[in-house]
Symmetry: C5
Subunit: 367 residues, 5 copies
């Protein structure tokens, strides 16, 4: 979950896996409370109305305007950015007959992805992911989609560029989108979300490659920590994508009133993509685990190198120093000391001993 | 399982995973025996009667009072704190037609969570969890819920504040609770229990964060032990929550007589929460495992640092000491000793050797 | 598998996971061969006949006596201790119409637990476990139960006290047992077996606690071996209990002729207990795995401590000895040697170097 | 897979998991090619014809003889040893109407165990395992069984003694085999194969016991390698037995034309045995894993011991040598040197230091 | 994925698990875009027309030619090498009525293997694997198969020799292929792809054997890295083959219009092969994991050897040097120094000490 740059306290910049529900605990079910941080100053509403002939984008000031648009166009897409203004969600809920349980789910940004069929509309709760290159972490945002007959309402926590391609296609008269119903729009939106997962996979693979070469260069604790952070991201990524498989699968299998049969193959396409994302995450996890093991083996080998070096130096010089120590003794009667070539003989013996050790080490392939 | 501060023996403060059934073994099935510790002095019974118009809370002295209340109100909630007075449970059982097998299950506080349908009532056995910040551990208590037509009876091991929000909502005339039947009350109670799981998840995440920074500061055995204790808590937490998934799932799927269809979406909501709790526990477990690996890598790296330091010092000074040893020998004929600059030449050679080693270490990035 | 104290060879006291079938291999199916050790001198048969009014216990000398008892009482329980006398099993088989395949299964004490429906009777093969405190290991014995209309025949490998509570309840006129049919007796017997599993869990938890404190005191190889033995016991315990889940589950689900519907809730109770046993074994295994990791971390930390100590001593004294070595050289011209305070200056420098190292170690928190 | 002693090249004695199919690749399906090594000089065919009254064993020279035998006896068993003579298999196939796909499967000795129903016959492909005590490894051989009405044809890669007990039972007029149909013979053959699995389990347990004591004696690399080889054997054993569970399970569940209902309980017996084999393999794998961990812990502990010893010696003698070094310096003015008892005082101080270290090590339980 | 030798940038030679979809993101579904690298200069189209009587191979210049061939022969196989010329795929799509979603799937070379039924044709997306011996890695290529009534169209990324055996069989008048329909051709093609998997398994086993001996010779980091690369290959291999199981399984189970029943047993044969490939990959993975553990144990043992050697040398020479140091002290009064045999006595004591240590090490089996 992104915390943005404007969070005042150092402490809060710590990324959390689990979104605090403290505000909501102890409240009776059915109260509209926004669970999560306020990520934008003001709630912004944009409406897109279109059919095959025309397409209109309106900055909505007053929620009631939407009703007029709904009558004028075959498909109406209302996008809400920012969830802290619960009144707006309440009003939209009233206008479009959205159940109070759904409204609560929209506001509780710690939801597990899910799909719920309310017959007059379908409720989808997804997670939009993005990769923050500066922090090297995945940021999360909740996307709620209400798909009714002739309209789609999306709720995001803050404005973003994820749906820009969809908007462009709405504007283009030739696009398939303009010829299809609201269910196809819902498909296009979910597709845009899942496409972003692929970008994240690419970012992660790049990151893994970088880490791999960094790690091999020096087996530092920093490299390990980065590896571990990567593992953590993958765990959360998987946790987020996993439920989608079931959700999109149920859309293709079950007969929801608001999803026409013609759109089913498209959702099946998304299903295939999600399976591929999950597969790839699993492969990445196994690779990161392999890197972890390589790291440990590398650290071990380095230790081995160090110990070999210490042992080589120590085992050569200890006997030599001992010999020197012997002839440093002050005994009155030490006949060797008076031999004329005694000193050089001892030096020669020392060289021979050193060579002996070297030969031994070489034979054991220590260097 | 909480042992409280009043347990007299040091030995008993050891937290146990498995609750002794010794008292019950060898007894014929169907005998009312309280398995577990006595956690309160006296069994306390409170009754709440309410319907849309009115709400009454009574401290019950005599179990028979309950029958009168049951007739006066649409919904009656009887809460029993303390299980050692088996007579009370027996009397309540007789008044409300509770099966003797259910009565035994209420008294055996080591139960695995379960749901059992007795047609005239539904029996739910859950575990209320709480996080003891002083001991940094999760405490457990068994909650038994008997949901019959127009009444809910709850059995706790000791009084607590977990249901305070439910009580407040009963008191408030505007609350949904007052408009619904006994099944909604049961839902609200289970919801309160599951909400507490979320608080525990938050506590655990805080604890994980603390541990993470403590561990990184010094890779001490204490940090590891705390990590391991955390792991243990997560194992037990998961073991406790896991069966709930199946239990609440069966309530939403199956047609129990005492659970109206209108309450199903609410139980489905709890189901979603439980799945989220389980998911989060799994993520926590993987993160704690990752911390464990980081710890081991950190310890390994520290060892590496120490060995590098030892090797650097030892390999520099051993050859130097050896040279000093050579010129400490007492041979009669050692020509160098009489060279005027011999001493300073040797010192110079020593400095060169030391520099040589430094350059070598630097080239291998040892410091 | 218990080997008892009377096994003559040291070698045979080795506990085996897998019971030799060599005697049986190569034999045509359908031959009565006892696979396993002979655990008692003589096969002992006891019969209990009872109905609501009366109860009789008979030491059976002649197998034919049983038929008379069967006619006199509503329920007849024949218990056979010792399996090596295949003639006894053959005769009982003939009297009660037990299939030859069942007879073989009774004699093959290496059976996996199973249930088999032969319509006129139900065959249950279980494993009775016990905890041998001296050897700190779980001992196994096979229990075969043949449940027919109005009779239960049990086959044990040796006499034991596991069914003592059941016998007491038969003797007591007020017990439920006396009011029910043979299927309830079968339930009571299985319940006694499963209750013993709980005692074993308790023993294991005690053992884990002891091991935990022993291990923390010193990370010795002995502690590790004990841990590993514990792991092995848990593997075998789980392997033994696991199939029971399926077996008892099938009794509650399927309609066996000899098991009345009234007994189903009681078997469901056993099912719950078995699930709890399995859950607890899993938790124990995870805890033992955690202890294993703690052990390894502890050993690692100890090594770290040792290396730190060595490094501290070695790195302080090596430079100091080097300095002493320098002034031990015998060069003619070493001006410092003649300085009057040279010796004390060098001592002072040595103290400063030692202090410098201490400060460095302190700054890196080495002590 | 056994390679035998007669393989000429050292290289080929390497045991392979995967049997080369190179000869078969690129060939159209349906060509008769023998994949695998030629394990016998000549293909040998033996035929057993029997019914309740008589039994005949014939060494078949000409494949056509079989037809005559088939007419004379209720059950005909043709056993083929050696697969390289594809003509023999082709002729048998023609005589008994065996599909060309089946013939290929018989010849491809790298088959995964499977069952295939061709209505007029049932095709079973199994793996016969044996334990080679010299190489301490499991050898494999493929067994193909064609079970048709009134006949069983078995194809082995080389002659063996595995079916000796079956042959004996055919010869014995009193045996059950003589009274049953060909499906019972098929059962007896599969039973003989599975019985051998039990012998292998016993061999493995013996081997595990030996390894366990060897390993504990010295934690050598050899012991580890033997452990790892054992692990490898278990992996392959499991891979080989695992599919049998499904295969025999399907025989008991499905209605194959050539398997009568009366034989079902016998196949269910085999099924139970296979489940037990798989269970035991799993237990062995967990035990071997535990041994692996014990090995690592043992190696670690040894390292600890070594380091403790080194540290004790080094830390005692380094300060002592330093002191000796000090008084070996040649400063003109070193007052202690002229003290009469100086030498003995220093010796005393050294002894005190050594004792101090000893006390310290003892307090930390280093020895 | 193979990158070939002609890739200009060093960077791109890095093998990627995940194929970039950046070109495709943001594009409306249904646009024909080639995702993947351009692996050939020019798209090449070859057509094979055959029936029992005749067979013709044509180098197609103009896509329209195909229609004529389709009418002339019972079976037409069009093979397209190279996907970057989207116009060709578009035209073929138009001629044979291939859905635009299928066309996109053909061009997106990062597809997960899948089968899709479009009633008038069946679409299969597979991955052709090959083992690059120089890089010691598995290369991937996507194969798309469109199977319609009387025709098969295959799309490869670049020309290859994988289908050479199929081409030969088409040319041979006697081959089964010539007698069957297009579905049999599809089978033969998939069979050729799966056969190649077996070659890869063989290559991998050879590689594992080589690695095994290399690793045992010296436990170098290089050996470990090769092991880790092998692991990575196996992960990707498994990921690629795994979905095929489901795909081929569904062809044998479901009733696709374009797959006749007569071909089902052949596809079942492929299914068996795929299961065997997956099994073998799993076994290889376990073996590689075992090698990893052996590697770690080997490194550990080497470290042990080194430390033992260091300890032996250090602990012998430290006390000896200390003794030499003592008699190197310059105390005025050191009576031993003037003993005539003092020097030799000390040498003798030193030898005794050295022998003592040797005996001690020998008793602990250090050498």
């Amino acid at each position: 979950m992104s915390t943005g740059n404007h969070t005042p306290h150092k402490k809060r910049q710590k990324k959390r896996i689990f979104r605090s529900r403290v505000k909501a605990l102890g409240q009776p079910p059915g109260s509209l409370i926004h669970i999560g941080e306020q990520k934008v100053e003001q709630t912004g509403i944009t409406a897109f109305g279109y059919d095959e002939g025309q397409a209109v984008a309106v900055e909505v000031k007053n929620v009631e305007e939407c009703l007029g648009l709904k009558e004028r166009f075959k498909v109406l897409w209302i996008n809400v950015d920012g969830l802290h203004d619960t009144a707006v969600i309440g009003m939209l809920g009233e206008l479009f007959g959205i159940d109070s349980l759904t409204q609560e789910d929209i506001l509780d940004t710690g939801q597990r992805p899910k799909v719920e069929d309310f017959e007059r509309y379908l409720f989808l709760s997804l997670r939009m992911l993005d990769f923050n290159r500066e922090l090297n972490e995945i940021t999360q945002e909740q996307l709620s989609i209400v798909l009714g007959p002739g309209y789609v309402i999306t709720f995001q926590e803050k404005p973003g560029d994820m749906f820009e391609p969809v908007r462009q296609r709405i504007r283009s008269a030739a696009s398939k989108l303009r010829k299809h119903d609201a269910d196809f729009l819902a498909y296009a939106l979910v597709d845009a979300v899942v496409d972003r997962y692929f970008s994240i996979l690419e970012e992660i693979e790049n990151r893994i490659d970088t880490l791999d070469s960094e790690m091999m260069a020096d087996f530092s604790q920093e490299a390990f920590n980065a590896l571990y952070a990567m593992k953590r991201e993958l765990i959360i990524f998987r946790k987020t994508v996993w439920p989608l498989r079931e959700i999109i699968g149920s859309i293709t299998r079950e007969d929801f009133d608001v999803v026409g049969e013609g759109v089913d193959p498209y959702f099946r396409d998304i299903y295939d993509h999600i399976v591929q994302v999950i597969d790839t995450i699993e492969v990445f996890r196994e690779i990161v685990n392999g890197m972890h093991e390589t790291y440990l083996a590398g650290v071990n080998n380095r230790m081995n190198e160090i110990m070999k070096f210490l042992t080589m130096i120590a085992t050569v010089f200890m006997p030599l120093s001992f010999i020197a120590g012997i002839y440093g003794m002050n005994f009155k009667y030490m006949p060797e000391l008076s031999f004329h070539w005694g000193y050089f003989t001892v030096l020669g013996v020392m060289v021979l001993i050193a060579i002996g050790f070297m030969v031994y080490y070489r034979s054991r392939k220590w260097f």
